[in-house]
């Protein structure tokens, strides 16, 4: 029986049509996979179902009845829950408050039932093994992975019968992913209907009952999962075959150490981390959520304070760094939190691209060389193939999630970094673009850059790293060389 039905939904933004007549059917007790390139229109479609956006034309039916969500509230009232691609938590509120943000439980006298909020939250936190977090922790202090789990819990607490997951696993490590998948399967057994969007095709193939492929705003193919395999999905998504997942590029690792971390302590929990990266080397860093990987990266780059130890950049030792100093030394850093720390969301793409490079374009009187700036902007938008109609005016928040990530990457690559720290650079990026990003990183390395590559996706780490270090509970526990790579081995040190 179909629970939700879309008929010929169309949508355009400022004259650019994004959805060209989408029809789709969600059945009771199934997981529906939805895949497509960055900017294909997946999130737009889900936003329409969730009442965040209004369609230009077309109709929707919920259990056979016409359904017009004018606002997200209507969708919630109709039992539709939505895990957004871009986290929509309030960093100044607590975990419990965020989970209940759209409807606090009422107790006596209409007062907010704080006890119930805390106890239910506690229960969920325990069920999903989110340790060291209490219902009263404020969201702002939590790493991205935990925030994503909270976002998921927020949707589950509502007990809705239709759940939409827009790339829910981008910040999760395998363990959390497994927990989430187990929950999804349980929910399906219990008769819930789920739409699952992801760029990790293996997950979609493993989880879903049926898969729809969206390309440039049209559904180009659909069918039961048994009929799909990875290569065919990719073929339908991009319209051509992509055989290789990881590019191959001859590169040599030089003997000079470009960058070294000595006994680094930071964020109260990370202790005595030591590693070094040589020129031309890609060092992968693996660990579970909360292992302290991002914290290390942030301390190195001077975003958070170094509490002990030092970093050695091109032979010079520093006990305190700032982003300014690091950039002057040829470093670059892609943070995992692109919305708050990577981009100026309400500003045009070009302004975002120019943030870092402008420092190199200062001419007399402090003037910016605008011709050069425009030229580099164009070059970068091409190099990372951002899908944007007019980079001068289109704002970052109107780009699709994956394209936002490409802007962040472009903004840093333009300075040709020699030491590049990347924290989850392929988050939310489609297969084709992932390949391009790997290629960019490899090319930088082949030109002598040292790269620290942090990722929760073990596959990609093994695919492009020369060496992998594993972090656990704030300590660096193991360094593994390429010949010994295996997911069992790496996983065994992480857990």
């Amino acid at each position: 029986m179909s629970v939700l039905q879309l008929k010929d939904i169309k949508k355009s933004f400022f004259g650019v049509q994004v959805l060209h007549g989408i029809s789709l059917e969600l059945k009771e007790g199934e997981i529906l996979g939805l895949v497509g390139e960055n900017g294909a229109g997946k999130s737009t479609m889900m936003n329409i179902i969730g009442g965040v956006l209004q369609p230009d034309s077309g109709s929707m039916f919920l259990r056979g009845e016409e359904y017009h969500p004018e606002s997200p509230q209507v969708a919630t009232d109709n039992g539709i829950s939505f895990i957004h691609q871009e986290l929509s938590l309030f960093s100044n509120l607590t975990v419990a408050e965020n989970i209940y943000i759209d409807g606090y439980p009422k107790g006596k006298l209409g007062m907010i039932d704080k006890k119930k909020m805390a106890s239910t939250t506690e229960e969920y936190l325990k069920r999903y093994h989110i340790e060291n977090v209490s219902p009263s922790t404020s969201i702002g202090q939590l790493p991205m992975g935990t925030r994503q789990m909270i976002e998921i819990i927020k949707a589950l607490v509502k007990n809705s019968h239709i759940l939409i997951f827009d790339e829910p696993t981008t910040s999760l490590s395998n363990r959390e992913k497994e927990l989430l998948f187990k929950t999804l399967n349980e929910l399906r057994e219990a008769g819930y209907s789920i739409i699952y969007i992801s760029h990790i095709l293996e997950d979609v193939l493993m989880l879903s009952n049926r898969i729809y492929v969206l390309r440039d705003g049209s559904i180009v193919a659909d069918g039961p999962t048994e009929e799909w395999d990875r290569d065919r999905l990719i073929h339908e998504m991009v319209g051509r075959d992509i055989k290789q997942v990881y590019p191959t590029l001859e590169k040599t690792i030089e003997n000079d150490v470009a960058f070294e971390v000595k006994d680094l302590c930071c964020a109260d929990s990370v202790k005595d981390v030591n590693f070094s990266i040589r020129k031309g080397e890609i060092l992968g860093m693996f660990g579970l959520m909360g292992a302290g990987r991002s914290e290390v990266a942030r301390a190195i780059f001077g975003v958070d304070p170094i509490q002990g130890g030092s970093v050695v950049i091109k032979g010079k030792e520093y006990h305190k760094t700032t982003p300014d100093l690091c950039i002057n030394n040829g470093m670059a850093f892609i943070t995992e939190n692109r919305r708050e720390e990577g981009l100026m969301m309400p500003k045009p793409v070009n302004d975002n691209m120019a943030m870092v490079m402008d420092r190199n374009l200062v001419r007399k009187l402090g003037m910016i060389d605008r011709a050069k700036e425009a030229e580099l902007n164009d070059k970068m938008i091409h190099a990372v193939s951002v899908k944007v109609t007019n980079p001068k005016t289109q704002t970052a928040n109107s780009l699709s999630g994956g394209n936002q990530q490409k802007v962040v990457i472009g903004k840093w690559i333009v300075t040709k970094p020699e030491i590049f720290i990347v924290d989850e650079p392929t988050r939310g990026v489609d297969v084709g673009a992932k390949y391009e990003i790997y290629k960019l990183l490899l090319r930088l390395a082949s030109e002598g850059a040292a790269i620290l590559f942090i990722s929760s996706e073990m596959e990609e780490l093994m695919g492009i790293s020369d060496r992998i270090v594993v972090m656990k509970d704030g300590h660096l526990v193991k360094s593994i060389d390429k010949p010994d790579f295996s997911s069992e081995l790496i996983g065994s040190y992480a857990i």
Binding site: V52, I327, G342, M344, M345, M355, G366, M367, T393, N397
Partner: protein
């Protein structure tokens, strides 16, 4: 087929341009309306005397409002901007009229101007330092410096001048005020300051940094922008622009006054905010402020000529600010479009 496609593309580009114009300068329409209102309904509005008057009033507001735009671009406050006016006025006046230097007009003028600029710098440095280093909210810091400044100016005038104001300023200095045939001097000064501010904001690295920091300080910091220095410079610039305003106004009044600018704060903020510089930072600029100043000045002037009481002027101005803030809010939503709506 190709033709029509071309056409629709053109229309789209035009629509986009129109949309941007409204987004960037929501005030244009209102300026037009008050101006038309003045021409049609206000007696003596179009006389050359009044036009000249309007021009000078605009200069009086524009310089300091341009300075204030820097602060607003970072969503800050500088209540002390008007205190810079009175403190620099009394100290500059003292140097030029009462100190031993007064015997040498040119020298006195130079020393006076230098002192006044230094006062602006001092205010900027204190405000900026407190905000950046001591991490105090700009509202509190500048309220303190405003109070101290005003008290000092009053006290100094009482003790040293024996009254609120003092004349006898040197002739070369008075030229800056635009009396008689020197009408164009303050106009040129304010235009120079305006273009300077515009140049800084649009063409220089500093200007880029100001917009970046005003939009997203975290992302700016990680991108290697020196956020603290940028905020500090904003306060210094505001102080300096205010000092220039102090110079022009003192010369205009032909007297150093301890009450200089005491009623101006409302106009400054109105000009900046009504002009369209976002109260939450990151959007706007001095072009907007110019339009906002034109609007406020014409509004005040027209209502003065019609003869309404000051309460009514306040009322209208208050409503204009309210409207501007609402428009700003709506524009912000438009800028944030869909995705931001999720978080709100």
């Amino acid at each position: 087929m190709e033709r029509t496609e071309n056409k629709s593309l053109k229309i789209r580009v035009m629509l986009d341009k129109g949309r941007r114009l409204v987004m960037d300068y929501p005030i244009i329409f209102f300026v037009f309306v008050v101006f038309l209102f003045g021409i049609l309904f206000v007696p003596y509005f179009t006389t050359s005397y009044n036009m000249k008057n309007l021009c000078l009033q605009l200069c009086d507001l524009l310089i300091i409002a341009c300075g204030y735009t820097f602060i607003e671009l970072n969503a800050g406050t500088d209540l002390s901007a008007t205190s810079v006016l009175c403190v620099s006025s009394v100290l500059g006046g003292w140097i030029m009229a009462l100190s031993p230097l007064a015997a040498y007009p040119v020298l006195a003028t130079i020393a006076g101007i230098a002192t006044m600029l230094l006062i602006g710098l001092l205010f900027g440095v204190i405000n900026g330092f407190s905000v950046v280093r001591l991490k105090m909210p700009s509202f509190i810091v500048t309220m303190a410096t405003m109070l101290v400044g005003q008290a000092f100016a009053t006290w100094f005038a009482q003790v040293v001048f024996g009254k609120n104001s003092i004349g006898g300023l040197p002739q070369p200095f008075l030229v800056l005020g635009g009396s008689g045939k020197y009408f164009l001097v303050p106009v040129v000064i304010s235009l120079v300051m305006f273009f300077l501010a515009d140049f800084i904001l649009r063409r220089t690295k500093l200007g880029r940094d100001i917009y970046c920091v005003g939009t997203n300080p975290n992302a700016s910091y990680i991108s290697g922008i020196n956020v603290k220095r940028t905020v500090f410079i904003m306060f210094v610039l505001c102080g300096l622009f205010a000092a220039v305003e102090g110079i022009v106004l003192t010369a205009r009044n032909m007297a150093a006054m301890s009450t200089l600018g005491s009623t101006m704060f409302l106009n400054i903020v109105s000009a900046v905010v009504v002009g369209g510089t976002s109260v939450s930072g990151g959007f706007g600029g001095v072009k907007q402020t110019l339009l906002g100043s034109v609007f406020i000045v014409i509004l005040n002037n027209a209502m003065n000529l019609v003869g309404v009481e000051w309460q009514t002027i306040m009322l209208v101005q208050g409503l204009a600010i309210l409207l501007a803030t609402i428009i700003d809010f709506m524009l912000k939503r438009a800028r944030y479009t869909t995705r931001r709506r999720l978080a709100e």
